[in-house]
């Protein structure tokens, strides 16, 4: 991109500096200037390039093996890979219903009612398979590979609409969650889900037999932010849960978006609340920021160090 395209008459340099300063507080496309009533050419072109890139981001698949290796290295148990019924990216986009169902036929209740049936053929051979897999790095697959754990918390790493978000932020987010939740609660081994929608987690959570499920999922890629991760929390997960029975922590993508530690704190607060309330959803609110200082927004208009990472909402 050549700055020569920026027509010099339109914005003087003082204004440019003014906006450049403010642009450190947000990724939003502020202060673009005007040519007549329109966006300047440079911004129109930049937009088109970003749009082409964002469209590609939707279609690039997740490298499951690489992610599984990183997850396994955290020592939280060996990750299993669950595919949805959507067979490829194009079907995934057009058929959200399929993205909510696990691909293998074993229903969640089969697994849940037979948690220790060591005689099931694939369970019997599981350790061998694991060794074999270490060689070719592919994780075990399918709902039938999940054991009912009775753990407090299950965690799913789901590609959703941005596999890149999961690749970039999935593992550090998982680590932050494990750190804050690990000494208070028992955790089931992590699960990786592909061509996945949020509600696919309900099947996984039930199969794992966990109390509360956290689905870390790639949010749809925007023009400037293509790597945003969301966490959807569902207490007592089982197929059929409505979205009003979940809570959401969104826009995790430090440095500009929410940071891992802060997101994990919010999640911990919500887990605690859900366990106390006996349910998640609209009745459960994130009160983790309630103790922060400002009671009016007056202070926020004061100059703040623009380089400081603004990951704490409402501060």
């Amino acid at each position: 991109m050549n700055e020569s395209l920026r027509p010099s008459g339109i914005e003087d340099s003082a204004a440019r500096a003014f906006w450049a300063d403010l642009r450190r507080t947000t990724q939003a496309r502020i202060g673009l200037g005007r040519t007549g009533d329109a966006l300047p050419t440079a911004d129109v072109l930049e937009f088109r390039a970003a749009h082409a890139a964002a469209r590609d981001a939707v279609h690039n698949p997740l490298d499951v093996n690489a992610l599984a290796a990183q997850v396994n290295a955290l020592g939280l148990g060996e990750a299993v890979h669950i595919r949805s019924r959507a067979s490829d990216r194009s079907e995934y986009l057009r058929r959200p219903d399929l993205g909510r169902l696990p691909s293998d036929t074993a229903t969640a209740s089969d697994t849940a009612t037979a948690p220790d049936t060591a005689t099931a053929p694939d369970t019997a051979t599981a350790p061998d398979t694991a060794t074999a897999r270490d060689v070719d790095t592919a994780p075990r697959e399918g709902l039938s590979a999940l054991r009912s754990t009775g753990a407090d918390i299950g965690i799913v790493l789901a590609d959703g609409l941005s596999p890149r978000a999961l690749a970039d932020h999935g593992v550090p987010m998982l680590a932050a969650l494990a750190e804050i939740l690990g000494d208070r609660y028992t955790l089931a081994p992590p699960v990786i889900a592909t061509q996945s929608r949020v509600a696919l987690g309900d099947h996984i959570g039930q199969a794992l037999g966990v109390g509360t499920l956290l689905v870390l999922i790639g949010e749809r890629p925007g023009l400037s932010v293509a790597d945003s991760l969301g966490i959807y929390l569902t207490h007592l997960p089982c197929p059929g849960r409505a979205d009003s029975e979940r809570n959401c922590i969104s826009n995790i993508h430090p440095p500009e978006g929410l940071g891992y530690t802060r997101a994990a704190q919010v999640a911990a607060g919500l887990v605690e609340g859900a366990r106390r309330l006996g349910r998640s959803g609209v009745d459960l609110k994130d009160t983790s920021a309630e103790t922060s200082l400002s009671s009016s927004a007056a202070v926020i208009l004061e100059a703040a160090d623009p380089l400081e990472n603004s990951a704490v909402p409402g501060r």
Partner: protein, 468 residues
């Protein structure tokens, strides 16, 4: 059972729900739900058959059962039989002729307002399926609906904007910067409305205080809104936070609304709570509602009478019945917001945007549109330019605008602030009058109604985004 012969073949449609769905212009969401017409010929046949259905049928055969759905009960129990009188003899096809006949008269605004409460969402959905895009534009343009709080929205010859300064972490400095940008481009007369990234009541309150202070400091005649869940907002009203508008997403079935965590009585309560603050000046409409085709299907709450899937556009119009119960200041469809599984490409988004706008206005709503698309849909800025221009011609009350068309928190493209300037200029439209007067006081309004470019450093508003 409805039958229709066309081109030598006979098509049958099992009941009104199926007929409505098959008569709908092609869209991915209905294909996903399994209720779309299988060919253009079948669709044309369904439209013929639908055209001959008397309007009274919609009062007798609810599309979603009365017993199990409170939205249906609301629709039928509040149906105004007196207002209906003037059109009660018509078929759906006759209603289209009637609407277009009226639209061409000088007293169209009055005539259409008079029947509005006699129309049910299903009648309006049905007739819209027979209408071409030009019909949707011509009829919508003829309808006049206005509402007010600190500005008046919906006046003929105006196009207002929601200024949407979202930020991934709700950072007040980033949000203030985006507000400044929008105000300098003449946006924000419908509302300055933030989607908060978190649902934390504390963070929401902080944003409410921020916006209220900005508004008062610069004496901006507009209203603010933080679009958290209605329950969060109600809690904050109780706690004394400065709430102008009460926001909620709504849908067209009881099930879908419950998936959103709301029901009609909760919404009525929220409306009361909002009004009780008496913060409006030129009017007391306090609700801000968003809708959008596909949300019921997405929640698995899209089945109607006989267990058959109801098409998404009919369900969308039913959400307007919920909306009109609440006398809102603003209602907008988020037309291309959810994704290609409901509206596949630019063509479907444009069509749905025009449908939603026309149906909402006919039902008496101050209707706006979030002219937008996601990166997984087959659409681009050209499609949005088209839709914006068409909506401007159709007399749309307001559109949503964000910096550079890029919402960095919600991950989609809405309009840019600039786009509103374009539409106003090309179509000769102006901001809401109270806001236009304010722009004028700041030296930002040209004699021809154009918002003038002002260097940020010479605008008093510059203080908005810095402490000095």
């Amino acid at each position: 059972m409805y039958h229709q012969r066309i081109g030598g073949a006979t098509y049958s449609f099992d009941g009104l729900v199926e007929l409505l769905a098959k008569a709908t212009p092609r869209r991915s969401g209905d294909e996903l739900a399994g209720c779309a017409a299988e060919s253009d010929a079948e669709r044309a046949a369904a439209q013929w058959a639908l055209a001959e259905v008397p309007l009274t049928t919609f009062l007798e055969y609810p599309v979603v059962p009365y017993e199990t759905d409170e939205v249906t009960r609301l629709i039928l129990d509040t149906h105004d039989r007196v207002a209906f009188q003037a059109i009660s003899h018509l078929t759906v096809g006759g209603l289209r002729d009637w609407l277009l006949g009226v639209a061409a008269t000088a007293e169209a605004g009055h005539t259409l307002a008079a029947v509005s409460r006699g129309l049910t969402p299903e009648m309006v959905a049905a007739v819209s399926k027979l209408m071409r895009n030009q019909d949707l534009i011509a009829v919508a343009k003829a309808v006049e609906v206005r509402a007010g709080f600190r500005t008046t929205v919906g006046l003929p010859g105006t196009l207002a904007t929601r200024l949407q300064p979202n930020h991934p972490t709700d950072d007040p400095r980033g949000i203030a910067a985006a507000v400044l940008d929008g105000l300098l481009l003449g946006c924000g007369d419908a509302v300055i409305g933030i989607n908060p990234a978190t649902d934390s009541p504390k963070a929401t309150a902080d944003l409410l205080y921020l916006l209220d202070e900005v508004r008062q400091r610069f004496d901006i005649p507009t209203q603010s809104c933080v679009l958290s869940h209605v329950t969060t907002t109600m809690g904050l009203i109780e706690a004394g936070a400065p709430v102008d508008l009460v926001f909620q997403s709504i849908a067209g079935t009881e099930g879908a609304n419950s998936g959103f965590g709301v029901n009609i009585s909760l919404l009525r309560e929220a409306n009361e709570a909002g009004r009780s603050l008496r913060r409006g000046t030129v009017g007391d409409n306090v609700m801000y509602l968003e809708t959008g085709q596909g949300s019921a299907l997405s929640a698995g709450a899209h089945l109607g009478t006989g267990g058959k899937p109801v098409d998404q556009q009919t369900l969308e119009t039913r959400a307007y019945a919920v909306a009109r119960e609440l006398d809102p200041l603003l209602v907008n469809t988020v037309v291309g917001f959810i994704g290609p599984e409901y509206l596949y490409d630019g063509k479907q988004i444009i069509r749905a945007g025009l449908e939603d706008h026309c149906c909402g206005k006919l039902l008496g709503l101050p209707m706006g549109v979030d002219v937008c698309y996601t990166n997984h849909a087959e659409a681009d800025q050209d499609d949005m330019d088209n839709l914006l221009t068409l909506l401007g011609a159709a007399g749309c009350a307001f559109v949503i605008a964000v910096p550079g068309a890029d919402d960095v928190m919600l991950g989609y493209q809405s309009l840019a602030y600039h786009d509103a300037l374009y539409a106003r200029k090309v179509l000769g439209l102006r901001p809401a009058p109270e806001f236009a007067a304010w722009l004028d006081r700041l030296g930002m309004m040209g004699t021809d109604g154009r918002v003038l470019p002002v260097p940020p450093l010479s605008s008093p508003l510059r203080g908005l985004a810095s402490a000095s």
